[in-house]
Amino acid sequence: MEVEKGKTAKYRKEKNPVAKEVMENLKYFTKTKKILMDALKEGDKTVPQLSKALNIPGDEVLYQLMSLMKYGFVETGDLDDMDEYFYYKIKDNGKDKS
């Protein structure tokens, strides 16, 4: 059967349903991204500040924050007064809508 170019994902989905865990992972990432971005909208924050404010373990905050930085949503700010933790902020003050 010839499948129309550009619509092959739909074709595969009909034949192979997506696993529940995959959808759960997507939901988790979308939710965490929103929470982190909302917190950063209020001002630049360090990992411990985000961890405390959102009640998410520090390692998880760092992992998700660095992923968001890689995907172009977040950028590095200044170091704190003790030269220990970086502040992170929304990239280009949120002007980049990607």
Partner: protein, 433 residues
């Protein structure tokens, strides 16, 4: 069931790391037709993921990328990615038949321009294996920035099949209808260059890896030190603090009968010393302490490199680590035996790097039908005559290159690949006499 395609080559090289690539290149330059079967999405093996090499501190990627590019473009070399040699039969002299299984990439490499629009559109985030789990990547992704080929791939296991990648792809190179492929490869000789596995530190629970987030492996530190690093700088994974007191635990999974690996991994001392020097460059205020049993600086320029790190301020403590515990602030307490003073001591560090050892990757031995590929006592591929013909295995016509034979550094891996290609050539010439 689809019929298996039959392919013919002079040599089958299993593994597209630095050894397999070098062996393939040498053979291809002698006009032999070579097929490289690589299980991953890129050439370059573990070397392409390193920061710098010891003792010269040359950039690893700067050495690897021109090499993999030369391999990729060589007219006598064909490369199969996401592929494995499942079965290799020796039919007769200079006559092997390999059954190769290739998983789909869901992207037509020739049409992909690596524009990364698919990556940007993909809503999924999963662990990035290349970055050693320190950061995420998309399900539609380019494996890493210097991957060869630099082309996208779809992680079908984690893909939600939303079709966003397909919709934004300007060349229409994404194709979810791709299926597995099976090939029968007829070849005259085989070179095994399947490399090594890193020791899994979860096997030593007293070091706390996996439990304490600021205990990391040397490969995770290697990624943090590389220009294509996962973080904005070197950070401890537990809370994003810039570390200022880092400890290295040498011989993690090496020279340790209790974990089934009594031999020295040959590279851990030197790569830890290298990382120590790089850390002092990146974090000038940081203290670096290396806990060791013996420093093995045996190669050309190694001892000078060791001395240089001491001059730079890296502290060396001859000590055996008993256990590691975590404080509330994420700092780590190392309880160790100071071997020179004969005392048990404790020291606090804010990050610990476990210098994990080199373990065998013996999977390929099961692929050989009939006469099995002989392994040594440690699971590495046995060399018939290590002095006279270091690449020869127990099967005539099957040669071995690089760390598939045992732990070794990069220059030795390249030398070993040279020996493998020379011995393979000699074997092939015998056929034409």
């Amino acid at each position: 069931m689809s019929e298996k395609k039959i392919l013919e080559y002079d040599v089958l090289v299993v593994g597209g790391g630095i050894s397999g690539g070098e062996a393939a290149l040498n053979l291809a330059n002698l006009n032999y037709k070579v097929l490289v079967v690589e299980k991953d999405l890129s050439l370059g093996g573990k070397m392409i993921a390193l920061s710098k090499v010891f003792p010269t501190l040359d950039c690893a990627a700067c050495i690897t990328t021109p090499k993999v590019s030369e391999i990729s473009r060589h007219p006598n070399i064909t490369i199969m990615f996401s592929a494995e040699a499942k079965k290799i039969d020796k039919i007769g002299e200079h006559n092997f038949e390999a059954h190769v299984h290739q998983k789909p990439r869901y992207v037509n490499i020739e049409d992909c321009t690596a524009c990364q629009l698919c990556e940007k559109a993909c809503p999924v985030s999963v662990i990035d294996e290349y970055q050693q789990g320190l950061v995420g990547r998309k399900a539609a992704f380019i494996p890493f920035s210097i991957a060869s080929p630099r082309a996208a791939a779809i992680d079908i296991i984690n893909c939600t099949l939303c079709g966003a990648c397909e919709r934004v792809c300007p060349t229409g190179c994404i194709d979810f209808t791709q299926t597995d492929n099976d090939f029968i490869v007829k070849t005259k000789a085989v070179v095994v260059a399947t490399g090594f596995n890193l020791f899994d530190p979860l096997k030593i629970p007293r070091y706390g890896y996996g439990k304490y987030k600021n205990v990391i492996t040397s490969m995770q530190m290697e990624r943090q030190l590389a220009p294509t690093r996962p973080f904005n700088t070197i950070l401890r994974p537990g809370d994003g603090k810039m570390p200022d007191n880092i400890a290295y635990v040498l011989c993690t999974g090496s020279r340790d009968k209790s974990v089934g690996n009594p031999i020295c991994s040959q590279v851990c001392c030197m790569y830890s010393i290298k990382q120590g020097q790089l850390l002092m460059g990146s974090l000038p205020m940081a203290d670096v302490t290396i806990y060791y049993l013996h420093i093995r600086a045996f190669g050309k320029g190694f001892n000078e490199f060791y001395d240089q790190s001491k001059d730079m301020g890296v502290e060396f403590i001859k000590g055996k680590i008993g256990n590691i515990t975590e404080k509330e602030n994420g700092n780590l307490i190392l309880r160790y035996e100071d071997i020179e003073e004969g005392k048990v001591k404790e020291a606090e560090h804010d990050m610990v790097v476990l210098s994990v050892g080199v373990m065998s990757n013996s999977e390929i031995s099961d692929s050989f039908q009939g006469e099995s590929l002989r392994l040594d006592d440690y699971g590495f591929i046995n060399q018939n005559d290590i002095l006279a013909s270091p690449a020869e295995t127990n099967i005539d016509g099957v040669f071995v290159a690089g760390t598939a034979t045992g732990p070794m550094d990069i220059p030795d891996s390249i030398l070993s690949a040279g020996a493998a290609s020379a011995e393979t050539t000699s074997y092939l010439r015998r056929a034409s006499l």
